[in-house]
Assembly symmetry: C2
Homo-oligomer: 265 residues x 2
């Protein structure tokens, strides 16, 4: 699985405080600890409602993260100007997190996707809102893949985020998204599928168990990108074990290597 470390995100209180105080040390620590835990990419989100501030935050975060780690970033914003700034600063092949069918994202960001060599997360949101069930997700996936390939992306540069919705609100949400992942993986085997799935457990106690269960079942069906906190105890163990059982880890080499690296607590 491709692990995108999610922790440098202004929706987290400690990161919002670090952004406000321009606390470089906190950002370095949060970047380095995720890479040491196993992150392949680092998500960078400096969201801020104040005019112009998110672009400034993106510049500040990108400089710190990229000068203190060697993994590429995932430029994470809903603000096209912040995305443009992030993409222009990115070293190596970064991820754009994310484009969607929402016109306020699609129209300004599609040209950027075409210009930059980057992977792109295609979130299945549209102007009609969140997707519902399997068929709607497959239709939206097709629409986004069509637009992204027309913009020059290859299938393996596209990561479809199927929209993980809380099972506490609708018990069918879990099977809906997992069966959609299976359908997307079957129809577009070279396209990646995944994203941030912790929303699945919103409103439930001891959310990590629900998140681990979702990851484990979704991996069986083709999920291969996770936007997660790789420092959370047990999460990488759950992922490696899920891949081993699902036959996605030849001779369990990744699982055994993770044990040797001390990543199975």
């Amino acid at each position: 699985m491709i692990i995108i470390g999610e922790k440098i995100n202004a929706t987290r209180k400690s990161i919002a405080a670090a952004l406000e105080a321009r606390d470089t040390g906190r950002i370095i620590k949060t970047a380095v600890e995720q890479v040491e835990a196993g992150a392949d990419y680092l998500d960078v989100n400096g969201g801020d409602p104040r005019a112009g501030r998110e672009v400034q935050n993106m510049v500040w975060l990108m400089e710190i993260v990229q000068s203190n780690t060697d993994v590429p970033v995932a430029v994470d914003s809903a603000d096209p100007e912040a995305v443009r700034t992030g993409l222009s600063m990115a070293k190596g092949k970064c991820v754009l997190n994310s484009i969607s069918l929402e016109s306020h994202r699609l129209e300004p960001m599609l040209p950027m996707v075409a210009e930059h060599e980057c992977m792109v997360i295609a979130l299945l949101m549209s102007d009609e809102g969140t997707p519902c069930g399997v068929d709607d997700r497959l239709k939206r996936t097709e629409a986004l893949i069509d637009k992204l390939t027309a913009a020059g992306k290859t299938p393996d540069e596209i990561i479809v985020d199927p929209c993980f919705l809380p099972i506490s609100a609708d018990p069918a949400s879990g099977r809906g998204v997992i069966d959609a992942i299976a359908g997307i993986h079957r129809r577009w085997p070279d396209v990646h599928v995944g994203g941030g799935c912790s929303n699945i457990s919103f409103g439930l106690p001891k959310r990590k168990y629900v998140n681990f269960a979702l990851l484990t079942q979704a991996i069986y069906h083709g999920m291969d990108v996770g936007i997660i906190d790789p420092c959370m105890p047990g999460i990488l163990a759950a992922i490696y074990a899920a891949e081993a059982v699902a036959g996605k880890d030849e001779f369990c080499m990744n699982y055994v290597t993770a044990e040797r690296k001390g990543r199975l607590p």
Copy 2:
């Protein structure tokens, strides 16, 4: 999921020692702690190679377990005489663990299955050995279901154990057994599927992660009986979370109740 507590088994050193010393307290403790943790049935295995000894062990264990708990037992033996003894002593509707296509089990035990009101675990072993892949498992399931229904069992009295084989020896073992579970569940929706799955992780480090992953993925595909150690920290949390995500726990009631009962560590 129907939880069969696996701990009273002579292959465990502490139970073998308790059997040898006729240590009643140890057996009571092992029975009660499993029921408190959430076991629906208690497996009772007093295996011993010495002539006549296993039958004596079964009598001793059955008396202790049944007079100190209120859940039914799973009479667990490969020795037809020990099975006959266990079934004759069982209060309530017990489980026979297990019959198979192996002639040394099938021939003596099938008449017992017909005589006693019990559920029965149908292990997919035959005189040719372990099953291989999905089709072989479906064929063996059909053969066993035919024999058991002819002996008077209803589909929901049958628990098919698909044979969980180590992924360390064959990386295809995990998908093989999970896809077989899906196939059995689809074709015989009233038949239960499951069993003891910890063999899946044989030869690997930190086996619990692999066992949890197998349980989580197999539950998605229809596994609804687990022969497990319900006292193992996190195992019931993994099971309840897996059922909630897989849409098998309406409004997450079991998951939330488990939290209230302190079963999510």
